[in-house]
Symmetry: C2
Subunit: 236 residues, 2 copies
């Protein structure tokens, strides 16, 4: 499957925004954080290939810094699970199908719970705003893959924000919605897009009804459906 990923260029487009925590750290950790971000991007966009050994001196030269900030960044990347230890040093981590299934389950658990909390804690205005993100989308005649990714992200982020739990938000961010990117978005069938729209509408309906369990179930179903689509596209 990593072969498939390589060939279809499916890896890229992870959400590269810094988490709230990381932003907070920008204050002092100047170059080291910059290095971390750039290495993260390089891995995530596939410039550094899965299983590729990461030679500190090479990375240092590539980013025009010394080995010290590189080594510190590698610690962070290891905590993110983007990099994995070898007998000596580090290599880019390769994700198996099994791991992507596991991540989908974790995301279903966390984001489902976020939807549950949102059903109780969101203001009416917030729920209206969530619905309007979907309305805007449904009202458009032409949907580019980039727009679909972006709109989807706003939809999910708005629900997560309404859950009022920054730690939960951060953990959802960490587990990553890395598999819905432009490339994938461009390969979904009309039917799959219809299902996606249906899922979103179910979630909104539950939120409007302030139905916590319903919102949670709908969100879980949605996330596991997205995983199924992902599986079909990358072909396992």
């Amino acid at each position: 499957m990593d072969q498939v990923m390589k060939n279809t260029g499916v890896l890229p487009d992870v959400d590269l925004r810094l988490s709230a925590l990381q932003k907070n750290e920008r204050r002092n950790q100047g170059a080291a954080l910059e290095v971390y971000e750039r290495l993260r991007r390089a891995i995530v966009e596939g410039e550094l290939r899965p299983n590729e050994p990461l030679i500190e001196a090479d990375l240092a030269k590539m980013l025009n810094v010394s080995r010290t900030p590189i080594r510190e960044s590698l610690q962070r990347l290891a905590a993110d699970q983007l990099v994995t230890p070898r007998k000596r040093g580090w290599a880019v981590r390769e994700y198996s199908v099994e791991e992507i299934r596991e991540r989908s389950e974790v995301r279903a658990a966390l984001e489902g719970y976020a939807a549950r909390l949102a059903a109780t804690r969101a203001t009416d205005d917030e729920i209206a705003a969530i619905a309007s993100i979907q309305d805007e989308r449904d009202g458009m005649t032409e949907l580019t893959p980039a727009y679909r990714v972006e709109s989807n992200r706003r939809f999910h982020d708005a629900i997560i924000a309404a859950a009022r739990n920054t730690r939960l938000a951060d953990d959802i961010f960490r587990v990553g919605q890395f598999y819905f990117n432009r490339h994938i978005a461009g390969l979904t069938t009309a039917e799959e897009q219809k299902l996606n729209q249906h899922d979103h509408r179910e979630i909104i309906a539950a939120l409007v009804a302030r139905d916590a369990r319903g919102a949670e179930d709908a969100m879980r179903t949605h996330i596991l459906n997205a995983f199924t689509v992902f599986q079909r596209i990358v072909g396992f």
Copy 2:
């Protein structure tokens, strides 16, 4: 509340085991990982106080290494949220009530989901083993706080293992069951212990019945109950 924590010595006793991921890294990252563990322990056991600035040179002297492995460890500790950036360098992170509530919610979401998966995926033997952990405990005449903590940990770990999702297990480990330690265990009332036992029995009953939703709900209730007990004890 951090004042309360200081006075009651409530901070200690976080689970100091390395996660599966960390163990894997032991191979190459020798001293640096050792340093990380020792700093983690020092923070978690309260040797390094919340908001205490962490002076690299002092830590280096204290652990008898140079500043380099200290700095690398600080990156890991930051990823764990045990350490927080200051204008210059780092300080031990202080948890607010609000953050502990947030963590409890995340743990309820993740560990509830683990119970759900366990209800479907556990073998009959695994469920029997989970039940027997509780049977052993209920059959004892005298329960020391240390035993209660240890038995509780085995109970939860067995359920998590039966969920067959290592990423989920790792995330549960990360969010930490830091608030149920010996000190807290020694301060619970007979009534609270009764409730705890009841919660565990409910979870077991749902697992035996292979009732996924029931197991999830019971686990969530249990975790949120534990948070309530924690709140009472540390007194907010």
